[in-house]
């Protein structure tokens, strides 16, 4: 059964609502950001909902005060506002004290394509993974969002959950949890090249995969559900079956998913060619929507296909070189 007609934020908040009915110490704070599921929460559990004002710095430290009093707190807003806007609060109060507060951001990458760079989240992976004590989850469909939500109350911790704004096609079936334990899932097995991606871009890479199949290139696809920490041993064992690794993200390359992967591969002494694909260092002030923006920064499906083909060809060249 398809579950892709539910917005990620509603999947998430619905789960939190169900838990909040049972756990009176669960508090949900919003900096004036909503969701259909949150309307129900606010209506049914007003005692456990706190409108923090459009005051993200305030929201973070209030949540810290609640957490220090034994509460399980969630702070909720669009990604740029719940991360960059109050970054130092998140660092000082949540990271250094390692409090069980879940930072829930909506609008990964160009989700808010019609809104412009104030609303884009093209640096959140980099900035949030720089923090100590943090776990970062990047669910790319309904089932993984559902499991991410469950994790926040079954294993409370300082976490950042990055959600997409839009409906997402299913990656996993209902009840499936193979991505959960290690945070890494090889969702498509392939040969020669494996693509590591996360969130919204999983579907784009899979579309590229279909196109490439017709041209005789069978790529593997890894969904990185957990961006931090990355399970290096498992990642190594998966990618070692391939001849090259490509990372694809809707993020600036500095410090993003690709950076994280290359760090892990270096530490694990995996000597494979790696190509990072992401957004060039530029803020687009252009109309036209997400697909159009992807074309501009060359992370649309066709560009991904081209980049994989180039990478594939370069690997063939490498092989000739190394066989001499």
């Amino acid at each position: 059964m398809s579950t892709q007609n539910i917005l990620p934020r509603d999947v998430f908040v619905n789960q939190i609502y169900e838990e909040a009915l049972k756990n009176k110490d669960l508090y949900f704070l919003s900096a004036d950001f909503g969701a259909q599921a949150l309307d129900k929460f606010r209506d049914q559990l007003p005692h456990q909902f706190i409108h923090a004002g459009i005051s993200e710095q305030n929201m973070v430290d209030i949540a810290a005060g609640l957490a220090l009093n034994g509460k399980l707190a969630y702070i909720y807003a669009m990604i740029p506002f719940v991360t960059f806007r109050c970054y130092e609060q998140v660092k000082v109060a949540l990271a250094t004290m390692n409090l069980p507060v879940t930072v829930v951001g909506v609008g990964s990458g160009y989700s808010y394509d019609d809104a412009g760079p104030t609303h884009y989240a093209t640096e959140d992976i980099s900035c949030m993974r720089a923090l100590g004590n943090i776990e970062i989850l990047s669910p790319g469909d309904t089932q993984s969002t559902f499991e991410a939500a469950k994790l926040t109350f079954t294993k409370p911790a300082f976490r950042y959950i990055r959600l997409d704004r839009k409906f997402l096609p299913d990656i996993y079936q209902k009840g499936e949890t193979r991505f959960l334990k290690d945070g890494i899932c090889e969702i498509d097995k392939g040969e020669e090249i494996c693509i590591i991606t996360t969130g919204y871009m999983v579907q784009k890479v899979r579309q590229a995969k279909e196109i490439l199949l017709k041209e005789g290139i069978q790529i593997g696809v890894i969904d990185l559900f957990r961006l931090k920490p990355i399970q290096g041993t498992l990642l190594s064992s998966i990618v070692s079956r391939y001849k090259g690794v490509m990372t694809v993200e809707e993020q600036f390359l500095s410090g993003g998913l690709g950076s994280a992967i290359t760090e892990v591969l270096a530490d694990e002494r995996i000597l494979l060619p790696v190509k990072r694909v992401g957004i060039n260092d530029h803020y687009y002030l252009d109309n036209g929507g997400r697909e159009y923006l992807h074309k501009l920064c060359k992370i649309d499906v066709q560009s991904i296909v081209e980049k994989i083909k180039q990478f594939h060809a370069s690997l063939a060249g490498n092989r000739v070189l190394s066989s001499k």
């Binding site: 004002g53 973070v60 430290d61 209030i62 949540a63 810290a64 005060g65 957490a67 220090l68 004290m97």
Partner: protein
């Protein structure tokens, strides 16, 4: 009428303890501690704060957060004296085998939250007050902020928030010593009319002379009388460096260390009671 004589000797004791710790280690902010010494002593020994030194996080305690984290030391001798940790810890201040450091954090018994970056402790204290309200506990949340800290925008986000949520259990002391690091606050970016700002945000304002126990306890009496559901700010007019004549009201002493001659002079000063009532 409360007998203030025991408090006068506490003032002298606290200043000497802090001075010794700083001179021994060459670390700390003497003047920022001295400007809020009396109000902190009055809170801790004047029956305002319920605490359990053996169980520092007991549910029904009142909390005290020194949000002006550079003055964390003002609490260290007090917490030792009240039994939160052994007095020997004061001698191990900043040592690798000690638990006390220049800026305090939640790992130290009696310290509620990490402070050092201005503006955090105040909002966290509001979170404490909110938690108590929602739990139906009568715990009070006390927090000391510096006047310079009021430059932080987040302070005013929380001022608005605390008023909206009727956090009348949040008692904020603004240590109005009038100085930040570079100059007088009114010459840097003026904070006045500070009282009007808090009132406009929906707070009760009580003004006290921060170096008069008589006035501080009068302020506490006023505080108890407030039944209007508003949070309260006590603006404590104080002197940065109070008690060491050459440090008083001098910006350059924010974190400067006195030389040997100045140490001698300071110790002479500290032998005298600098508080009049």
């Amino acid at each position: 009428m409360r007998d203030i004589h025991p408090f006068l000797s506490k003032s002298q004791w606290l200043r000497k303890e802090i001075f010794d710790m700083v001179i021994r280690t060459q670390k700390g902010h003497i003047p920022s501690c001295y400007s809020c010494s009396e109000i902190v002593l009055a809170l801790c020994y004047g029956g305002m704060i319920r605490f359990d030194a053996k169980n520092p996080r007991s549910k029904n305690r009142d909390s005290l957060i020194v949000s002006k984290g550079h003055a964390a030391m003002v609490l260290y001798p007090i917490l030792a004296d009240l039994g939160f940790y052994p007095k020997e810890e004061l001698l191990k201040f900043t040592n690798p085998n000690g638990i006390l450091r220049m800026y305090a954090d939640h790992t130290i018994p009696g310290i509620e939250a990490i402070c050092g970056s201005l503006g955090h402790g105040f909002t966290i204290a509001a979170g404490y007050a909110l938690a108590a309200k929602r739990d139906g506990r009568d715990s009070k949340s006390y927090v000391i902020v510096s006047d310079g800290e009021c430059y932080e925008g987040s302070v005013w986000e929380t001022a608005m928030f605390a008023s909206h949520y009727e956090l009348d259990n949040l008692i904020t002391v603004v240590d109005r010593n009038g100085l930040c690091i570079l100059s007088e606050t009114e010459k840097c970016v003026k904070l006045n009319p500070l009282e009007d700002k808090w009132k406009a945000f929906g707070w009760n304002v009580i003004n006290v002379n921060g170096h008069s126990y008589t006035d501080i306890f009068r302020g506490f009496d006023d505080l108890v009388k407030n039944k209007n559901k508003k949070p309260t700010v006590i603006i404590s007019k104080s002197v940065k460096g109070k008690g060491i004549s050459f440090m008083e009201n001098k910006v350059e002493w924010h974190n400067k260390m006195p030389n040997a001659e100045q140490v001698g002079k300071a110790r002479e000063n500290l032998e005298k009671n600098c508080i009049i009532n």
